[in-house]
């Protein structure tokens, strides 16, 4: 087994593990983009108190916020195929990655819905009234006055959510996804050097989240007027 911790192996594993980083990026980007779109619709349902849908999305949000991501992932992985089989759709042969992407997207949709809803609600009522008074329709008011202001309010929380998602993607390996952690695990099983792989994964996560945080802080300064 040799040395307990071999620094040289950290460098050796780095490129192999780093080559799995795109998997992580894929989970983060699809779940953030899909989650934001879905979350926006959910936020509108809540803000306009759409009958029937509103209580449904409220329970959905508290379910997502009240359960661990890993449970949600298992439920999607084992539950979705059963559910769809009832209506005659067989997705048993789907790549596992699709289930992971769906889970993370559904997870982010709930969090994004809350971020977007509270940002929209924080725009003072006077802004909407002024827009109405100059003749803007409800939709024009939302698009031209309320959403741009809500965007600035939501931006910091949005950035935090992206970083949180990045960290939480490491759970995907529990379904057997070959992401960075999955790769480190695979190397460890083969070589009995688990720790070095974990150190590499930790380093990549630290670097990536620092980059993201810096990037969002920079965008915040650039985007938000005065």
């Amino acid at each position: 087994m040799g040395k307990l911790f071999d620094v040289a192996l950290v460098f050796e594993y780095m490129p192999v593990i780093l080559s799995r980083f795109p998997v992580t990026l894929l989970i983060v980007s699809t779940s953030i983009i899909g989650g934001t779109l879905l979350g926006f619709l959910i936020a509108l349902v809540r803000l306009y108190r759409v009958p029937v849908l509103n209580p449904a999305v409220v329970s959905y949000i508290s379910f997502i916020r009240g359960t661990p991501v890993i449970i949600q992932m298992f439920l999607v992985y084992y539950g979705f195929p059963l559910l769809l089989l009832q209506v005659g759709i067989n997705i048993n042969r789907w790549d596992k990655l699709y289930f992971v992407l769906i889970s993370y997207m559904l997870n982010n949709a709930a969090f994004m819905a809350e971020i977007i809803r509270s940002a929209i609600a924080s725009v003072p009522a006077g802004q909407t009234e002024a827009a109405h008074s100059v003749g803007l329709s409800g939709f024009q008011t939302l698009r031209r006055i309320v959403l741009p202001q809500a965007f600035f309010t939501a931006f910091p929380a949005f950035g935090t959510r992206v970083v949180n998602t990045l960290e939480s993607t490491s759970l995907a390996f529990t379904l057997g996804i070959l992401d960075m952690l999955g790769q480190a695990q695979a190397i460890g099983v083969r070589t009995y050097h688990l720790l070095e792989g974990y150190v590499v994964v930790a380093l990549v996560f630290i670097a990536a989240s620092m980059l993201l945080e810096k990037g969002f802080a920079w965008m915040e300064r650039r985007l938000i007027p005065n």
């Binding site: 827009a131 008074s133 003749g135 202001q149």
Partner: protein
């Protein structure tokens, strides 16, 4: 001509407007006075459909609607004939001065951007803000913000502008500049309905003064009639109190 007839509005069990009639001739300045909670703001908000009145009719020029049966289209039509100046200015925070004025013209009225820009410039110049086109609301004083808001209202060329205590949120030293702009607007012959506690301003500018209390119009008349010779005890009481409080002489 603007005619409000029998407007009623309740919030829950609280009846705030108990059948108010108001007639405003073209080019007239009507000042509404009244103690806090008498329903002045609610009346203006009903005219602009920011509140939906429970009953009553509204006529603006050749457009007549029943408050409670107004369709979305009718509401939009009423809003295109009216403009509102709010106590807290309510400039669009995501837009600079010139964009604030242009927004209603371009988005609601579909005026070509170049024409709207020219109009906005002209109106901002008129309120003395030719050096503030690009300033965002957060970069403007309260008085400047309210002047942009007045430019925004005037630019829409409405049949009436509703002012709800336009100087109440201002520091005392900024009140004068806004009142001066309002005098200029009145001189242009624009129809105005103004809720204000500025008595000497009301006295000078109003063609017609309305005194409201507890959701009804108690008394109305020319400024001279109301200020120097009120008939109703409630009007007298209110005027004594407010003139004492603000130490104005007319």
């Amino acid at each position: 001509m603007i005619q409000v007839k029998g407007v009623r509005k309740s919030f829950g069990k609280n009846e705030v407007l108990k059948g108010v009639d108001l007639n405003v001739k073209k080019g007239e300045v009507v000042v509404i006075l009244g103690p806090s909670g008498s329903g002045k703001t609610t009346l203006l908000r009903c005219v602009n459909f920011l509140e939906i009145a429970d009953d009553g009719d509204l006529t603006i020029g050749d457009l007549s609607v029943r408050f409670k049966h107004a369709t979305k289209k009718e509401i939009l039509r009423v809003r295109r004939r009216t403009a509102m100046v709010f106590q807290n200015y309510n400039l669009f925070n995501n837009k600079n001065a010139i964009e604030n004025v242009m927004e209603g013209l371009v988005t609601a009225r579909k005026v070509p951007a170049a024409d709207a820009y020219a109009t906005a410039k002209k109106e901002l110049d008129k309120v003395g803000l030719s050096d503030k086109y690009d300033a965002y609301p957060s970069q403007l004083s309260g008085g400047q913000q309210q002047r942009v808001a007045i430019a925004r209202a005037v630019s829409l060329n409405p049949e009436v502008i509703l002012f709800d205590e336009p100087t109440s949120a201002l520091d005392p030293e900024l009140v004068g500049e806004v009142l001066a702009v309002m005098r200029a607007v009145a001189r242009e012959g624009i129809t105005m309905i103004v809720v204000t506690h500025e008595m000497s301003f009301a006295h000078d500018i109003a063609d017609h003064v309305v005194f409201m209390d507890a959701g009804v119009i108690v008394e109305e008349g020319t400024p001279k009639e109301i200020f120097t010779n009120p008939r109703e005890a409630r009007t007298k009481q209110f005027l004594d109190r407010i003139l004492l409080k603000y130490d104005y002489s007319i």
